[in-house]
Symmetry: C2
Subunit: 679 residues, 2 copies
């Protein structure tokens, strides 16, 4: 045997390299579930999942419960690999579910979603007032399954759970990029897994009108590029959602964000036309004409059709980001405004909103709009969705409007889960009375789709949306970030068991870029870079609605687990609290990153999709080289000269800038090392 000491170190690094891509899931008890329940008491012992899990229903019964049972068993089988088809052959009932009664025929905000779950060594009982609680309880039960040295088990526990907020939503923008139905179905599966209960379906945009209208067929014939949902498909989505305890609320945005409607129906608009589908991203001038009765006649008929299709009590009419320029340019509209004493565009929009609200109300629905619809005379029954922030939420509630928060939950902006997790719908509501607070119904994550396609959207939605789901479900004091991240990793795995392909899709996209070369160096780079934050991306490179989204920025997670872990590690090293093993790990990472640039060259030179990665790969090399110098200085207790330290910090500042539309997220951790090395 030769070189026996070398190989063991070699294989340690080989293992480390692979471990960049996975996170330890079972580092500690207690409950590793997300969202955390309102109350839980952990007992000793556990229930063994050794074979089929028979489920017996008592109390109220309906077909939806039977389908929930089948879904539960399919998920148990998927989680464990233990077949669940033969439950009828098993001897005793092991899961007894008691349902008090039905939920509302059309799911309502006020529906009771609570449940009680008890797991003992000998059996499991789930008790809920309605099928909604049963479904939530079954998701909790699924997440409780764990693999131990002796087999699959569910820890003995008593859970008494109910959501903090009744409105826990996810808005998907099918307008800017059409999102395929299979993605929507899987998104609803993920919402069920995370106990979200409102699917807000953004169906019209400047770039596309996405729902069949029988009354106005030109909406899709001319406004969708052929990419739209039929009414039958929408019905199936609604039924699928109801089966999972999820309401479906359509949004048809107006008076702005409606160019695609004007392609087929130019008379709706305020400009001379003709209109074409918008191919660029941004805020555009076209807007509905609020001054013509024909507009309201159109909308009346349109709402009649759409409110009949969507059973939910709420109906979203958008109302955001109308810049008024088409109004300003139209003399007839200007004349109308003077004649009717509408002093500015805001007043004209308020007039329009009032008319639209009346129509929506006439068709039996409660209107929802974005902040802009809230005007001095807006009727109390109009609900507000706030993209402006917690103050706006508190203000709306004070004024007696039901309101939900979306500001802070824009998951298209590639922010870390911790940032969303820290945002509370009641964040600025301290001064509100309990009655005023009760108007704050919850919140909605939103995935606007300028920068996502059907291929990439799931990797943007998950797993971060699970952190928002916890914010909206769990008690207000559930705020520990470390716990959240630990459980978020488990939630990611749960989503995978339940059929979400988002991790595999990301991996496939990396393989596509790698173009048959060894993909390991590309995965190393992918593990530490992130997309630019907020709205920086289109400033770095032009995008339109037909831009391929097939580069590394589209494949990577919006949040790098490795970079976050490295940042934590660097902080411990900087504070002198890191163990020798942690020092060694930091060094191994830095060496891996530094040397990765050379390893990536064959990919860069063979693949057009990788060609732009040369500078960001070099960037990682440079930052890691600096990091190793700092680590040496710390470990050898030879502080860096002040000039060196300043020079390196300046260099790191430069390396923070995006390249290939990507951020090297190792830089903050390395900055911490350099700063510490300078003392």
């Amino acid at each position: 045997m030769i070189a026996s000491s070398l190989p063991s170190r070699l294989s340690a690094v080989a293992a480390l390299s692979a471990s960049l891509f996975c996170t330890s899931l079972h580092a500690q008890a207690p409950l590793q579930i997300m969202p955390l329940p309102a109350h839980a008491t952990i007992a000793s012992g556990s229930f063994a999942v050794a074979g089929p899990l028979p489920v017996v229903f008592t109390g109220y019964k309906e077909p939806r419960l039977e389908r929930a049972r089948q879904r539960f068993l399919a998920n148990v089988a998927s989680r464990t690999g233990v077949p669940q088809w033969a439950t009828a052959l098993a001897s005793a009932p092991v899961i007894t579910i008691h349902t008090g009664g039905p939920s509302a025929t059309v799911q309502q905000v006020a529906d009771d979603e609570s449940y009680k779950l008890q797991v003992t060594r000998s059996g499991i009982t789930l008790d809920a007032p309605t099928p909604l609680g049963v479904m939530h309880g079954l998701q909790t039960l699924l997440q409780l399954i764990e693999l131990t040295p002796t087999g699959f088990t569910i820890p003995a526990v008593t859970i008494d759970d109910a959501p903090r907020f009744p409105w826990r939503g996810l808005m998907v923008d099918s307008g800017r990029h059409f999102i395929s139905l299979d993605v929507l179905y899987r998104t609803l599966d993920g919402m069920e897994a995370t106990k979200l209960n409102v699917f807000h379906w953004h169906l019209s945009e400047n770039q596309g009108f996405r729902l069949e209208s029988k009354a106005f067929p030109l909406l899709t014939e001319k406004g969708s590029d052929g990419l739209y949902y039929t009414q039958q498909q929408a019905k199936e989505v609604i039924a699928y959602a109801r089966d999972r305890g999820i309401r479906v609320i359509p949004e048809f945005d107006m008076p702005g964000h409606a160019t695609a409607m004007f392609v087929g129906y130019p008379d709706l608009a305020s400009g001379p036309g003709p209109y074409t589908i918008e191919r660029q991203w941004g805020i555009f001038d076209p807007a509905m004409d609020p001054t013509r009765e024909s507009t309201y006649k159109f909308l009346d008929k349109f709402f009649a059709e759409m409110t009949a299709l969507f059973p939910d009590a709420y109906f979203h009419i958008g109302g955001d980001e109308c810049n008024g320029k088409e109004w300003d340019r139209n003399p007839r509209i200007q004349e109308y405004m003077r004649a009717h004493n509408l002093k500015d565009d805001a007043a004209l929009q308020a007039y329009f909103t009032t008319r639209v609200q009346e129509l929506v109300t006439k068709h039996g629905k409660i209107p929802i709009g974005w902040d802009e619809v809230l005007q001095p005379n807006t009727p109390k029954q109009v609900m507000i969705q706030s993209w402006r922030g917690q103050e706006s939420v508190a203000d709306s509630a004070k004024r007696g409007h039901n309101v939900i928060l979306s500001s802070g939950y824009y998951i298209d902006l590639s922010e870390p889960a911790s940032q969303h997790y820290a945002v509370d719908p009641l964040g600025k509501a301290a001064s509100l009375t309990p009655e005023e607070k009760s108007h704050i119904l919850g919140g909605e994550a939103t995935i606007w789709s300028e920068m996502v396609t059907s291929e990439t959207i799931e990797g943007r939605i998950w797993p971060r949306t699970a952190a928002i789901a916890e914010r909206l479900w769990s008690p207000q004091d559930v705020t520990d970030q470390a716990s959240m991240y630990k459980r978020l990793a488990i939630a990611a795995q749960t989503l995978t068991w339940q059929g979400s392909p988002y991790l595999a899709t990301s991996s496939n996209m990396i393989d596509r870029i790698a173009n048959g070369k060894d993909s390991a160096p590309l995965r190393v780079l992918a593990s530490v870079v992130e997309p630019p934050k907020e709205y920086a991306r289109p400033d770095l490179k032009p995008y339109d609605s037909s831009s391929p989204m097939n580069l590394l920025v589209d494949a990577v997670s919006p949040e790098s687990d490795t970079a976050r872990n490295f940042r934590d590690l660097a902080a411990r090293i900087a504070s002198g609290t890191a163990s020798p093993a942690e020092h060694a790990q930091a060094r191994q990472w830095l060496i891996l990153w530094r040397d990765n640039d050379a390893a990536l060259q064959p990919t860069i030179s063979s693949s057009a999709l990788a060609a732009e990665l040369a500078p960001i790969s070099r960037n990682l090399h440079d930052s890691s080289t600096i990091g190793l110098t700092a680590l040496d200085a710390i470990e050898q207790k030879k502080p860096l000269a002040s000039a060196t330290s300043s020079q390196q910090l300046a260099a790191l500042k430069t390396l923070e800038a995006p390249q290939a539309v990507l951020l090297n997220q190792t830089v903050p951790g390395i900055e911490a090392l350099v700063t510490a090395a300078g003392h």
Copy 2:
């Protein structure tokens, strides 16, 4: 900077460790497609895929072609990430498809599947007599797309292609384990990608009857555990298959393999009953009673229903593995045999088969049966499917029966692709006349489902079935194994682009076993082990129809690419033709494998699914240790003592034996090293 020479070696091993799991795809031209076409001429230059690819049809048109176009564009988008929805906005037609005329209303064996494809720098033309050729040509075109340093391109080429055999099938056994519909749909997608054209659907078994019968509802009510396809679902599968140029042939196995039918209809059987669904694997005694007219009355009505449901001209009635024991035990049947001069069980089965054939023929179908149905008086029109072998195929053809080969194509037996690839339907047909040879229509891969579930079946079907598809499509002299394996790796990637999740599923199963621990050591082990071959698996451990299939043997590929590559490497080292880099690679592998046992221990001790892996992991450690000794001896030119060499070869013999129902497939390569080291 410290230790700069060490880290570069470290990262080389880190990269190597990852490269175990991927294969270089573009090692060489020419055409990297599978199956290879009959004729191809490669020109210079290429066609750039920079945006949407408009497709224009000329000649015969039908909706199936439009759906094929949409599927093609979706696959182009999936392969490239370049959106294809805006083809209507693109300027010029770039793909012109001319279709001569329709294929048969019900797809036939005689349908023309040929096509001509020409790719130039300026455009693409596809010309085919029927839509079937168009679909095949589009699959070829998809596979021709490659990523270069400058973008996605299709090499300029002229292809004139047609299949060697008209019957290129895959049999899926939905009887023993129910296979979910989504798996079947994806399987049909994979068949389209590999130009297979017969989906043989094995629908009844001792363990389950899987298709709704309205005439005999107890078949599924009592014989399926609730796991069956409705007739509506079957119709949708048939339509989906037709859209992809695939015929669907149902098989209802009889007189044996029919226990599940007897649960609801015990009078069909030859024993006293009652019957229950069989839970064990094997050959069982229950058999239809051939002596009662009521049996044929039942089958007449059953065939009337099923032949109406399945439009194909062929209808499979099984006929295999009836052991006759129930007949032997039934005095009334014995009396009947004497009275009718049926001298033994074979004669009785021949009588039954004749009656069944008559019924199938009466309902307008051509019967197919396994070898056993071929008896001296079997009508010529009965087609034979051979599980017995090439001689049996030649014999059937000589006797004037159409025949297909399945022996050698049993993909459930975990044999390497090369083994299937070497089997030719005409392998024993040298002495046949051309007319006799023309009866050999092709072959079918078969996936019997004792050892697969819906979760694992796709990882058993793919990619090896693509090698069989090439055997059946491409010219007889396309037999080069190295080329096949290179293109098989690309085919695996193509299947992934087209939506097959089989690689991700395997990865998820490994994650399940790893149980939140670093999965890298488990992946190292997984990369070099294989399931036992042929029927060895149930001898190593008991299995029945409810056994979980969630262990490493179920997660790994039936054929280890790494082990095959190592075997090739070892052969080069043994023959003295390996380069220094190859020596270094062999050493790195052996060190990785040797040290993996220690790295795997945390997983083994935490996961019940990994617990049984201790001995096979130690086995890999032991074989690698021997391999390193041998490599040292070779490299240091110090031959092993004869006693040492013999001892090590004996130890390797022991290590060849399966452990944890897995084979350590590094052993053959290591044996080659030890043998070479002894010289």
